[in-house]
């Protein structure tokens, strides 16, 4: 049992080191809020550690992590709506993201589902079928959302180049 426990810790640490940045980036894109993405990343990895024997057998553990994180985000949002008066306010704004402001604004301006598809397909490099599974939508819908999102970003990046 002890040996198995230590092996779990080692393989989880390797997974954590290899995927923490990409998962955080994907959540920044999917949610658009750095502080929230940080919190969700921390909680999702903590849950992955608790369920590591199950998570490590997943064909794409990052997909499992993103599903958990986005469910947590949805639940938090629901709770926040129910108790607006008790929302905690952050005293310190997190530092700005080191990304071109126009690109970030364009991503934040995308529809929610377009951002999620962009996060999973582009940032996390999941394939269309896996992305569809995580989001609970049809693969064709994933392709359509991705096409629209990339069209918007292409326009922004092209204007940026011209300017």
């Amino acid at each position: 049992m002890i040996v198995g426990y230590l092996m779990d810790e080692m393989t989880f640490d390797a997974f954590y080191r290899a995927s923490k940045d990409d998962c955080f980036r994907a959540l920044v894109v999917a949610i658009g809020d750095r502080a929230e993405a940080e919190d969700l990343t921390a909680e999702a990895f903590a849950r992955a550690l608790e369920r590591w024997p199950q998570v490590r057998s997943h064909p794409r553990p990052e997909a499992w992590l993103m599903t958990v994180a986005m469910n947590l985000h949805r639940d938090r949002w629901r709770r926040a709506r129910r108790s607006v008066g008790s929302l905690l306010r952050r005293n310190v704004d997190p530092p700005p993201l080191p990304i071109d402001a126009r690109l970030l604004a364009a991503i934040r301006g995308l529809a929610d589902q377009q951002r999620r598809v962009l996060a999973l397909r582009v940032v996390l490099d999941l394939d269309t079928v896996r992305t569809a599974e995580v989001l609970g939508i049809a693969p064709g819908t994933v392709t359509a959302h991705l096409h629209r999102a990339l069209s918007v970003l292409r326009d922004v990046l092209t204007k940026e180049e011209l300017s």
Binding site: G4, Y5, E50, H147, T158
Partner: protein, 233 residues
């Protein structure tokens, strides 16, 4: 020149490469803390019925007493009522695998297929018609810590830090888990209590004791030989 979607993808990835996640890696939550909520539930019930503690005449025992059939029926009824009210309601309980009465708390663990359910109530010896419910926990068996037998901990709960005043809860630790086929007995060494004999039945073990100190769990073979010892900080 950004004119292909592949260029957009490359540009987005390149931009986001500058973002890094800097928080420390998570550490496995202590199983004692992780399941602490199960006994944290005790607080509310205890306050409501005001019957939690050794001061009311039912002493804790290092060796548990098996339940009578009538007591087991009462316990099953109470636990089923609670699980029906849970967020994951059931119409029937899984198979009973282990139960015991040990002083002022009585517990039962039910397991079936891939999940188990542990229910803790106040001792039936003091109640004829109903058992004040204390706490419960259910989980998937495949979420038990992976590893080889002889022991796997399923539930490991402790009362919160003692607080003086009306919210005081007696220090309590509660454990359940599965045992391997070679394990005949499970004992727990608690510094301030001595040796606690867990109830072992149907491949499961269960025990509780009035202490929050670190302890050792020993798996013992059929000839009394020690098989393994686990330190729980």
């Amino acid at each position: 020149m950004i004119d292909e979607f592949s260029d957009v993808i490359t540009e987005v990835r390149k931009s986001f490469d500058a973002i890094h996640y800097d928080r420390p890696a998570p550490r496995r939550r202590s199983p004692v803390r992780r399941l602490g909520w199960a006994l944290a539930l005790v607080a509310g019930t205890m306050l409501a019925v005001n019957a939690w503690g050794v001061g009311d005449g039912v002493a804790w025992a290092a060796v548990a007493r098996p339940l009578t059939a009538a007591e087991q029926d009462l316990l099953d009824t109470e636990c089923l009522r609670e699980v029906k009210d849970s967020p994951e309601p059931l119409t029937s309980l899984p198979d009973l695998v282990a139960s015991e009465d040990r002083g002022y708390l009585t517990s039962a663990t039910y397991a079936s297929g891939d999940w188990f359910f542990t229910c803790i109530v106040q001792s039936p010896v003091r109640y004829e018609d109903s058992l004040p419910f204390v706490a419960m926990q259910w989980s998937n068996i495949d979420e038990l810590p992976e590893g080889e037998e002889p022991l796997k901990f399923a539930t490991l709960g402790q009362s919160p830090d003692p607080v003086d005043g009306p919210d005081f809860i007696d220090p309590t630790t509660f454990i359940t888990g599965t045992v391997g086929s070679g394990v005949q007995r499970v004992t727990i060494t608690v510094p301030d209590l001595g040796e606690v004999e867990a109830t072992v039945a149907n491949g499961w073990f269960t025990a509780w004791w009035p202490s929050r100190h670190p302890f050792q769990v020993h798996a013992i073979g059929p000839n009394g030989e020690p098989i393994a010892t686990f330190d729980v900080p």
